[in-house]
Subunit: 334 residues, 2 copies
């Protein structure tokens, strides 16, 4: 089996370089024969972390990058001012064919912008898209787009459906994934100008289109893929992420009311976490793909654990082995 | 004090006519001197309910309407085919000045459509808007619009800010309510075409504009009012409502696993309800106003309790006494 080269942003996320390096080490160890991992970032910091692992991995190397784009940096500005950042250097490795994919738990906007500007779009793709997983009764649904493309035209929503279907088929093994159109009502006649026209395009396509889905259906598993303008998807994703934070903070406030409350919340918390909160914990999902660019980019949550980093690496490998980008190009460049 | 006449849809909601009539009776009894309540719906059913209350209220009357628009009826179709529905008759009472306001826990789309078509818009208003309350750390924030107007132009979002500010000031007593623009980033440069232009208009207005707010800020009380296109607001409202349902269903599934689980969930549920779930229970809020139409319409959740119905009646009274519609007209017709 030919080795897949994955560049890993060692400076990405809230726990860099610790979690990034740990995740990379686990992946390199588990897949000595099929993966080559390139850690990108401040060489000295990465070496210190690597030394802790006391393991010699021939398929793990380091590429130095002297700067770091933080979570608070402006994506476009920082790509200009910090030209030797781990994100910049990592994406250039993909651009120069020195790596097959780049994964990062760093500044989402910067990774996205660098990928779109440097790697360019796959032939036939009008707008790239980022998908995000939401938990449902039946498993998971992936919403495209959650922020890569706003002011979409109807054909862009169709493209999201095509790219999303290919991704869910080859990376998640879902045959004929169900595609829903996010809308304000179930009937075909409902919607704004964008969704009314997109409905027609989706209906005529060879996708497994299941019609309109509403905000209340996102968590109900009525579709494997839900397509929408990146403005709506971004608002709903950030809203969903905040629900868990708000709940946790309410429990904290309650437990601070007294000793008994503290014990009681402690007792409940285990069950709560397993029954409800876990599904809403967006940190657990690992990365999400940026689809439509000429190269593979997977973006992870800032709080990604080592296992999340490892899973992002494996997802990138899967996308390359299954030739997801060629399939997108075949489908859309006609 | 002159009496305010409020028409109440006795057939609206999942518990009609029980909750509608009970709420109306409480309001009529508490405000014998200031309110006149007109129950609209099937006379026989209403009388049967009224008889149970064994109370004689001179300020409570009934207007017969032989048909009922159900929650599943198409708003536009049902207004044509069911011309003697409680919604149709109730809105006509307002149109013919026989009532000052109409409140309903029935089919939201039908109440909205009937109000907009029959009552018309206030002079100066381009698009009417429905607001919906969301719980926050600091109290409540009201999102305008959640479904009355899609494909908005920038000036419509400004109008929502103006109408919302007047409503929050006079009905909720918030002086200079903070107005946020729902967007995909905090910076002024973020957004789609609509929000980029709306930002400028809001910034130049005399509203207390606090800038962009993101999906994650909705539950965080950064603004008293959040303005957005009705498409986005509708999706986020329905998503938010579904979160509670999903959590409840997860607890139910867990408690069905065995006897101990059932007892344990029962023990936790009281705390859970008071600490977290209550705030997310959108049924508890009573009604939301449709602003911008020539008349007062308050729309309630289908599961509205008698107290919610009573609160809707009082909110309608408040809007009339504070002359909210005249203030909207003064502000927008310049």
């Amino acid at each position: 089996m030919n080795k897949i080269k994955v560049a890993v942003d060692a400076m990405g996320g809230d726990f860099a370089p610790l979690n990034d390096v740990s995740g990379a080490v686990i992946a390199a160890e588990e897949k000595r024969d099929s993966l080559e991992i390139i850690l990108v970032g401040k060489e000295k910091l990465i070496s210190e972390e690597l030394n802790k692992h006391k393991i010699n991995l021939g398929n793990l190397s380091v590429v130095n990058a002297t700067e770091v784009i933080t979570m608070n940096d402006s994506p476009t500005d920082s790509l200009k001012t910090k030209s030797d950042s781990s994100i910049s250097v990592g994406i250039n490795l993909v651009k120069d064919k020195k790596a097959d994919a780049f994964i990062s738990a760093g500044n989402t906007g910067a990774v996205m912008t660098a990928s779109i500007l440097r790697l360019g779009r796959i032939k036939g793709v009008g707008r790239p898209t980022i998908g995000s997983l939401f938990p449902t009764d039946k498993g998971r649904t992936m919403v495209f787009d959650v922020g890569a493309s706003v002011d979409c035209k109807p054909n862009h929503l169709l493209e999201f459906g095509v790219m999303g279907s290919i991704y869910m088929k080859y990376v998640y093994g879902i045959d004929k994934p169900k595609v829903g159109l996010l809308n304000v009502g179930e009937e075909k006649s409902k919607g704004d100008n964008l969704t009314l026209e997109a409905y027609d395009l989706l209906e005529k396509s060879n996708l497994n289109f299941v019609g309109n889905v509403e905000g209340r259906d996102v968590l109900r598993g009525r579709a494997d893929i839900i397509v929408c303008d990146g403005f709506v998807g971004n608002v709903i994703l950030k809203f969903a992420e905040s629900v868990l934070d708000v709940m946790k903070s309410k429990f904290r406030t309650y437990s601070e009311k007294g000793f008994l409350q503290k014990i009681w919340v402690g007792m409940m918390y285990g069950t709560l976490k397993n029954v409800v909160l876990k599904d809403f914990d967006y940190q657990e999902y690992g990365g999400v793909p940026l689809l439509g660019v000429n190269g593979i980019t997977i973006i992870g949550h800032g709080k990604s654990s080592p296992i999340a980093i490892k899973n992002m690496i494996y997802k990138a490998e899967e996308m390359i082995r299954k030739e997801v980008n060629s399939k997108i190009s075949e489908e859309l460049s006609v």
